[in-house]
Every structure is written in structure tokens, then in C-alpha cells.
Amino acid sequence: MNALGFARRSARWAFAQPWSGIALFVIVVFVVMSFASPVFLTSINLLNILNQSAFLMILAAGMAIVLMGGGIDLSVGAIAGLVGGVAAWLIAETGTPLYGAILVGLVVAVGLGTLNALIIIHLRIPDFIATLAMLGFVRGLLHIWTEGVPFINYSSNDFRILGGLFRLIGGITAPEVIAFFIIVGAILILLFTKFGRHLRATGDNPAIARLSGVNVIRTKYTIYIVSGFLAGVVGILLAGRLMTVQANMGLGMEIKALAAAIMGGAVLTGGRGSILGAVLGALALTIIQNIINLFGIEPAWETLVVGAIILIVVFSGKAPELLNLARREPRGPG
């Protein structure tokens, strides 16, 4: 009886979480795939999925933070590309030591995040336009800089380890470890710090938050800087992983990160969202990619599926309201 009650309560708690839907989705895909493919459930494949998903997980966690704060950042993929390029170039062309190059790369990332915040907050340009423009700007810079020739000859053993090309103890890789610390750190910060609360308050209702004494501007700055920083981290890991940095590195990752975050329960109007959900969303997208690989499906399906998933998630988020259309109109006030 007691056990049953506990189970029921746990289930109710779990279903109330923003990440419940995506968790269910991941579980179902796992179960189905383990029957559908003999290879899927092998430890090699699972480790592979985890290894691949680490990059997107970091970006998705960053995107979830931005969305929770009521913003959006479409420039993360481009920033990742540029920062990877900066690190690679410094090592290959100037002989900067690896960690020096990483530091400079991260400084660039933070700088671009700050620039986003400046444009959005002080020029009052809508966040998605500002970061979309930043995407074009940064990606263009990278193209000009590389002149179509990828950066090569910068890779070292350490950098490859960082990129996850070698497994550490227990088969895990460096990006997984880094992603783990970032995710756990982000969850703890959101749960237990003043910033976490102010973030959600700002995203939910900036006017009331300001009246309550929350420094809304500082919070907004922080989210774009954090987002830029995490994009920079991903850029460096990708540079280590790919051993060449092409001008298209990280292309389209912002869409995947956004898809992962909203699959994980984030909404574009801010205030709601979950790091864990976004991470599971990233996992789900990687699994879809893995399935496409396993079955030899045409890779183009992936883009299409991500787009369709976005449409379905947005639609289903509104479905209860739509079913009730006659009773409650989704109109403005009045």
C-alpha cells in the first residue's frame, strides 16, 4: 500500500516535470530500437551515442538557460565555429600552447556573447534578429578568414583527447566529462542560487521581476554571456574532435540546440524550461541521427525530422488549449 502510494506520488511528480515528455520519448525509442536493431543496444553503439551527443548537450543546456531567461540565441553555432577557428589558428600559425589558445578562444566567445547582450539590451533590437545578424556576421568572418581553406596542422594528442577521440578510464571521453560538469553545474546553479531564481523570474515576467528588486539587465547580460561561453567550449571541443576547422563548423547547430531545448519543455515566452529536458532532447536528436546511420537512411532525413519535430512539439504544446477552443480563447487581454 505504502509502496504503491509512493510509486503513485513519484509518477505524479515525474509527470509534472517539464522534461517528462522527452524522457518518455527517449525511453520508448530505446525500447523500440533495441528490438528493431541488434546493433543499437551494444555498448559500443551506446558509448558512441553518448560521445556524439555531448557537444549538442552543452549547447542545448545553454539554449535552455537563454530561453528560460526569456531570450533566444541563434548565434551559438557560428560562435562555436569561430572560436574553434581561433584556437586552431593560434596553435597552427603562432605556436601558442594548447591551453593558451583555449583561453583566448573562450575570451572571444565571452566577448561575442557580451556583444549580443549589448545589442539586444541597449540598442533594443529584438533578440532573435540581433543573434540572427550575429550568426551572419560571425560566420561571414570565419569564411573570410579561412578563405575556403580549412585550418589544419594544429592537432595534438592533448587536443584530440579533449575532442573525445580517445577514451579515458571506463570508456568515457573528455567531452562527456566536460558536458557532465557543465550540466550538473547548471542544474545546481538554477536550483540553488539567487541567479537561478532571478533568471526564471526575468524570463517569466520581467516587469514584475524588476519591481521585486531583481536586476533584470544584469540577468539578461549573464544569460547571453553564458550562452556565448558555452558555444565557445563546444567550438574548442569540436576543433579537437574534427582535427580540421572548416568555415562551416557548427553550421545549423543552433537549430538543433533550440529543438532540443523546446523538446525538453522550454517555451519561447520564457520562464519555463529545464536543463535536464534540454539534455534529454539533445540525446533524442543524437539517437535519431544514430538510427539514420544504423539503417543507412538518407542523411537528409535528419534536417527534415528536426524541422517536423519542432512543428509537432509546438503544436502539441498548444493542443490542450486548442481542444478547449470554445471555452478559452487564446486571444489578447480583454
Binding site: G70, I119, L123, R124, I125, P126, D127, F128, I129, A130, L132, A133, M134, L135, G136, F137, V138, R139, G140, L141, H143, I144, E147, D204, N205, A207, I208, L211, I255, L258, A259, I262, V267, L268, T269, E298, P299, A300, W301, E302, T303, L304, V305, V306, G307, A308, I309, I310, L311, V314, F315, K318, L322, P330, R331, G332, P333, G334
Partner: protein, 353 residues
């Protein structure tokens, strides 16, 4: 003096026209080759594609929405018409198939946004993914290019390469579309309603405007115009790359915003958009002809959008303050355009007596 200057610059198309003249002069001086008939016509043809996309975007923006899928829809429409050509159908069928593709995405976007009240930004981002993926899928089935040169394909490529009384067909189409839609936006009841919906949606609705229909229609227009650009593109290129249209939405937004259309709705100009599209094409061609890396264009695009929006907000505040006193200068438009769709969240209770 400052006041008149400010107002003159705020007028539709003046600033952008000036910028266009300066750009053309600068490139002509730098590279005399720039100023040849062939090159000029070429630049205008190049601009036609972005122009068509941007005109559709202008209507969506003026109605207070956004459509990020126009580039991908253009690419997919090009792919579909090319695919149908490759199957050996009559070129008219290919054109219709391409236009039908655009119509479908326009209807879908409009339905989800205007009728179901979903967020336009995220819906069209989803459509972008679907259309972009669909093009690559189509490309993986069969390469999208014209292989046999027969009468049929000539009729098809005439759309892009043909000339009527010395003027390339794409220019005729683009000019026709721009003039027609400028009149539609400025002078027709529909255009007036589009502006009203973008300016103050609730007020427009209570004044008897069928807001859902207007919003649905502008998305359909954007989809159709993207398809027209796509079909022309297919005819011009004779082959459709798998990533055609990628990033074009950014150029379309840039052209609309540079031309003087407000990102916040209520104010739009087709002619301004067309001039801005021409400016972008001039810039692109001029940079190429001057031997500058073509990707500078993307950088300029990013900076240009931010500068244009900032400038626009400044002129709105400036001209309002000049003409009617500082008290009436409108506050900057709502900084979160997304708030309109998924529930209003503003601090109420600050209204005066």
C-alpha cells in the same frame, strides 16, 4: 533644418535610394567595368530573387509576423520544379509544381500561425527545417539538373535567360510584382488592413478586420513569392544545389528592414524593399568585381541589419519628438515581439487615470 533632414530620411525609400546611388557611383569609379550594360542587367537579375523573397517578407513583417522559412521554401520549390522537369513533363507542369510547393508551405505556416495561434518564429523555423531537408532528400533521389536540352527545357530556361524587348524576363517579373504589390500595400483595402493588423492587432480586430484571414494571407503570399523566386532560380541555374536557399531568409529580412519596413509591424514599403534588394545585389556584385572576398557580403549583412533596425528606431523616436513634442514620442516598440502569441505578459496597472 535637422527636423526636415530627419523627416526626409524617415520617408520611405529615400535613405536607401541614396545609399544605392552612392554604392553604384563608388563601384563605377573603383571598377569602370562595373558600369557595362551586361553587368548592370546581371546585377538586377541577381537582385530579383532576393527581391521576390523580401517583398513577401515585407508583407509578413508589416502584418506583425515573421517568416524564416522563405529561403528554404524557395530552394525546395526550385528543386521540385527541376525534379518535375527532369521527369520529362511539360514545363508548365514543372512551374505549377514549384508554385504549388510554395503555396503549400504558405498555407501550412499561415494555418499554424494565424488560425491556431502558434508562435510564428518557431513554426517557420520548423518549416525551414522541413523544406530544407526535403530539398536534400529530393537531391539524393536524383541530381536536380537539366540534362537533355530539348524544346521543353528551352521554354523553361527562357524564364530566366530569355529577354522580351531586350529586358530579361526575371526583371520583368520582379518589376511587375513590385509595382503590383506596392499598389496593393499602399492603396488597397487589403494593404490597409495588413498595416492595421501589424500596428495594433486587437484594435484592428475590433474595428472589423478579419485578423486571422489577413495573417493567413500574408504567409501564403510569402510562400508563393518564395516559390516564384525558386522557379526562376531553377530556370537560371539549370541545376539546383542541395543547399539552395540556405541563409536567404536573412537576406530577405535585411532587404525588408533596410528598405524601411518595421520589424515591429504596422509599417512597410515594397518599393523600399526592392531598392534595398538592389543595393544588396550591387554590393555583392561590386565586391566580387573588385576582387574582395564575397563573404564580406555576409558580414556586411549582419552589421547592416542591426544598424538598420537601430536607425529605424532612432528616426521613429526622433521624428515623433520633433513633430509633436517629446511627451508624445512613442516609446520603443515592444522589445519582445513574441509576447503577442503565447500570452500577454506585461506589468499591468501602470495605466494613467
Amino acid at each position: 533644418m535637422r527636423r526636415y533632414l530627419g523627416q526626409a530620411f524617415a520617408a520611405d525609400g529615400v535613405a536607401i535610394g541614396l545609399a544605392l546611388v552612392i554604392a553604384v557611383l563608388a563601384f563605377s569609379i573603383l571598377e569602370p567595368a562595373f558600369w557595362s550594360i551586361d553587368n548592370v542587367l546581371n546585377v538586377i537579375v541577381q537582385s530579383a530573387f532576393i527581391m521576390l523573397l523580401a517583398v513577401g517578407m515585407t508583407f509578413v513583417l508589416t502584418a506583425g509576423g515573421i517568416d524564416l522559412s522563405v529561403g528554404a521554401v524557395m530552394g525546395f520549390s526550385a528543386g521540385v520544379s527541376m525534379y518535375v522537369m527532369g521527369e520529362g513533363y511539360w514545363f508548365g507542369i514543372a512551374i505549377l509544381a514549384g508554385l504549388g510547393t510554395g503555396l503549400f508551405f504558405g498555407l501550412l505556416n499561415g494555418f499554424l500561425v494565424a488560425r491556431l495561434g502558434l508562435n510564428d518564429f518557431i513554426v517557420t523555423l520548423g518549416s525551414l527545417g522541413v523544406a530544407g531537408g526535403a530539398l536534400r532528400l529530393l537531391d539524393s533521389i536524383r541530381p536536380l539538373r537539366l540534362e537533355r536540352v530539348v524544346e521543353e527545357t528551352e521554354a523553361f530556361t527562357f524564364l530566366a535567360h530569355g529577354k522580351v524587348i531586350g529586358i530579361p524576363v526575371p526583371i520583368i517579373i520582379a518589376v511587375g510584382v513590385v509595382i503590383g504589390l506596392e499598389i496593393l500595400l499602399r492603396r488597397s483595402p487589403f494593404g490597409r488592413r495588413v498595416q492595421a493588423v501589424g500596428m495594433q492587432r486587437d484594435a484592428a480586430e475590433l474595428a472589423g478586420v478579419n485578423v486571422a484571414r489577413i495573417r493567413h494571407t500574408v504567409f501564403i503570399m510569402a510562400g508563393l513569392l518564395a516559390a516564384v523566386a525558386g522557379v526562376l532560380m531553377a530556370a537560371r541555374l539549370s541545376s539546383v544545389p542541395a543547399r539552395l536557399g540556405l541563409g536567404f531568409e536573412l537576406q530577405a529580412i535585411a532587404a525588408a528592414v533596410l528598405g524601411g519596413t518595421s520589424l515591429f509591424g504596422g509599417r512597410g514599403t515594397v518599393v523600399g524593399t526592392a531598392l534595398a534588394a538592389l543595393l544588396l545585389a550591387t554590393l555583392n556584385a561590386g565586391l566580387q568585381i573588385s576582387g574582395v572576398d564575397a563573404t564580406w557580403y555576409r558580414v556586411i549583412l549582419g552589421v547592416g541589419i542591426v544598424a538598420a533596425v537601430a536607425f529605424h528606431q532612432w528616426t521613429v523616436r526622433f521624428s515623433a519628438a520633433q513633430a509633436f513634442g517629446p511627451a508624445l514620442a512613442r516609446p520603443p516598440p515592444r522589445s519582445d515581439r513574441r509576447s503577442g502569441d503565447e500570452g500577454q505578459k506585461d506589468a499591468r496597472g501602470e495605466a494613467g487615470p
